[in-house]
């Protein structure tokens, strides 16, 4: 072996070790730099996420409680005669009883009486009506009721209306503040968890508005989407990956599926509007149509994820099964697909999570209608979580500001849950070969 550095007449050179050491320093610096850039990027991402979530929480948390007032209601037979049920002056009966809680209020003055009635949510009279209709024996008796207060008083209680703003710029008058304080002093005001947010459908009145309609609508839409996109997506992926001959046509289809996954969602909405509603005459605003539209968008995601999962199954498993005399179809369905299933499910869940948050196509097919009852079938009109957020964000009432944030938090909660299921599946079925 000859030592190159000592070749006679060769140029004077530093030894290899020195050269390596010098380049090593440079390489280390490069790596260090890369690490800093990476950590910087991650920090920025986390900061953004933190800002997003904390701003949502800071405005949204108020919507998870609702101010209620508890008082004795005299079910006045004059206002609510039994023979007129279910009609009657329930609002007047409530106002009269609430007026008794407020010292020095003259309920014979119609304007004052109207103002006292305004403390209560519009839904209070229906609550009383339902109770009386269910048990007409209550007429003539005094019952205790806990009902939501109307939005301005809820805001006042939550400190969202500053008491020191001049009266003419405030949504509650000085008298009303006084009444509210009287009620508070009497121990009638409480602020329990706002179950109505989940058990009520949409309403014009923020204190009554809930997400039930949107949750049910999203559920029907996602169910439709899953039932259509999952079998079709897996079926096409299996065919394309395992059975289709590899030629120009299959290349063309592959390119198109990849492109389909990148098409803006609003385009799918327009397509759905034209095809499902225009040609097929399916109903507007129906979660079924929403689900069909979302299925169009989710299918490419599922196809791509499934094909990747199928490709990742090692050829040795296929060879083993083929070598034993399994048919192609047995190889695919008894060996390859079961091994690919975690990847398939992960892709599907991620696709569905995307579909859950998708807004634009649902707006185009009218799932942003104002609907005050939850859909009982996928063909009833409904909203979905993202479109409900869209509607609330557009509403002028102050109470909808915090409800919008709360709805976004609920949506994010579902998304996080779905992604956690995906991660769980991926870890539980870590590759076993």
């Amino acid at each position: 072996m000859t030592d190159i550095a000592n070749v006679p007449g060769g140029p004077q050179r530093a030894s290899t070790t020195d050269l390596v050491a010098a380049s090593l320093k440079r390489r280390h610096r490069k790596q260090q730099r890369l690490q800093w850039i990476g950590m910087g990027a991650i920090s920025i991402a986390f900061l953004m996420l933190f800002i997003l979530v904390s701003s949502l929480v800071s405005t949204g948390w108020q919507a998870f409680t609702q101010t209620h007032v508890t008082f004795d209601v005299y079910v006045d037979p004059e206002e609510i005669p039994e023979d007129r049920l279910p009609r009657g002056g329930f609002d007047d009966a409530l106002a009269a009883s609430l007026g008794k809680m407020l010292p020095g209020v003259d309920m014979s003055d119609r304007k004052t009486a109207r103002a006292v009635e305004g403390i209560l949510s519009n839904g209070a009279q229906f609550e009383l009506r339902d109770r009386v209709v269910a048990d007409p024996g209550l007429i003539g008796r005094t019952i205790q009721m806990t009902v939501p207060v109307s939005d301005p008083f809820d805001q006042l209680n939550k400190g969202l209306i500053a008491r020191d703003t001049p009266e003419e710029n405030r949504r509650v008058t000085n008298t009303e503040i006084q009444w509210f304080d009287d009620l508070q002093d009497a121990g009638a005001i409480s602020k329990p968890f706002n179950w109505a947010l989940f058990t009520n459908a949409d309403s014009r009145f923020p204190e009554l508005a809930g997400l039930k309609g949107a949750l049910v609508g999203s559920f029907w839409a996602l169910l439709t989407c899953f039932l259509i996109a999952f079998p079709l997506g897996i079926g096409s992926a299996i065919y394309l990956e395992e059975f289709a001959p590899k030629n120009k046509l299959s290349d063309f289809i592959e390119v198109n599926i990849n492109n389909l996954a990148a098409v803006p969602s609003v385009v799918f909405g327009l397509l759905a509007l034209a095809v499902f509603i225009g040609w097929f005459g399916l109903p507007r605003s129906a979660p079924f149509v929403g689900g069909l539209t979302l299925a169009l968008m989710t299918m490419p995601t599922i196809i791509i994820a499934t094909r990747a999962a199928l490709k990742a199954v090692p050829p040795s498993i296929r060879e083993a099964a083929l070598g034993l005399g399994a048919s192609k179809q047995q190889v695919v369905f008894q060996h390859v697909l079961p091994l690919a299933m975690p990847g398939v499910l992960t892709g599907t869940i991620i696709g569905l999570a995307q579909a859950l948050g998708e807004t634009a196509p649902l707006l185009l097919i009218g799932m942003n209608a104002f609907i005050t009852s939850a859909a009982s079938s996928p063909f009833d009109s409904a909203t979905a979580l993202p479109t409900q957020i869209f509607i609330w964000a557009d509403s002028p009432e102050r109470g909808f500001v915090s409800r919008t944030s709360a709805a976004i938090l609920v949506l994010l909660g579902f998304l996080v849950m779905m992604n956690m299921v995906a991660i769980y599946l991926r870890q539980k079925f870590e590759r076993k070969w």
């Binding site: 040795s316 083993a320 070598g323 005399g325």
Partner: protein, 265 residues
Amino acid sequence: MNDMSTIERGAKLSETKVSARGVNVHYGDTHAIKDVNVDISNNNVTAFIGPSGCGKSTFLRCLNRMNDTIDICRVDGAIQLDGQDIYDKRVDPVQLRARVGMVFQKPNPFPKSIYDNVAYGPKIHGLAKSKSDMDDIVERALRRGAIWDEVKDRLHSTGTGLSGGQQQRLCIARAVATEPEVLLMDEPCSALDPIATAQVEELIDELRENFTVVIVTHSMQQAARVSQKTAFFHLGELVEFGETGQIFTKPEDPRTESYITGRIG
């Protein structure tokens, strides 16, 4: 075991099980097998040796039509199993592979239980009539695979949890469970340590009783130890085919001699 005993053991005089005539294989433009003629006799171990890339695996995979699964692969010529052309249109490759089993270079048990690994072949071919029938088939196969004693207490634990040598013997057991007539083995010991290799070699010698075995190996010692007939491939051609003892002691072709003495490959 020395060379003398190999010669003494000799090849049984027996009829031809598989015969190949004028076989050519192309992968697209690559001509991988060039006009190969070979007769593989019944109840013998036939070894394919040769430098890597010379087409041993390719030819072996022609014998159970595994090459059908490779789109760009084209096989010409005639290969007969018991006198019947296996590339005939009426022959279903699925049925052929039930008669011609295969063991691969890398142990490839299914990620299922040991029991299910062995039972899979008999199950898809409907060989067992009842659960106890299947139990018997699995036990017999595992015994033939010389792995029964090691796994009989954990038949329902996963096959991929075994050691490399155990996995390969499991794969052999899985292949023999379907009672094939011919067993193809593509470098079955290349991923194994010497002890596991010795176990598998012993096993191959026993399998000869019931099966026609074709084994690809790049170890000439292994070919000498386990086989009765040896075929030497070089650059896609079958250079020499004969009794193992004769190939290793008196090769006729100079290329065979150079390979055996370590000058090619």
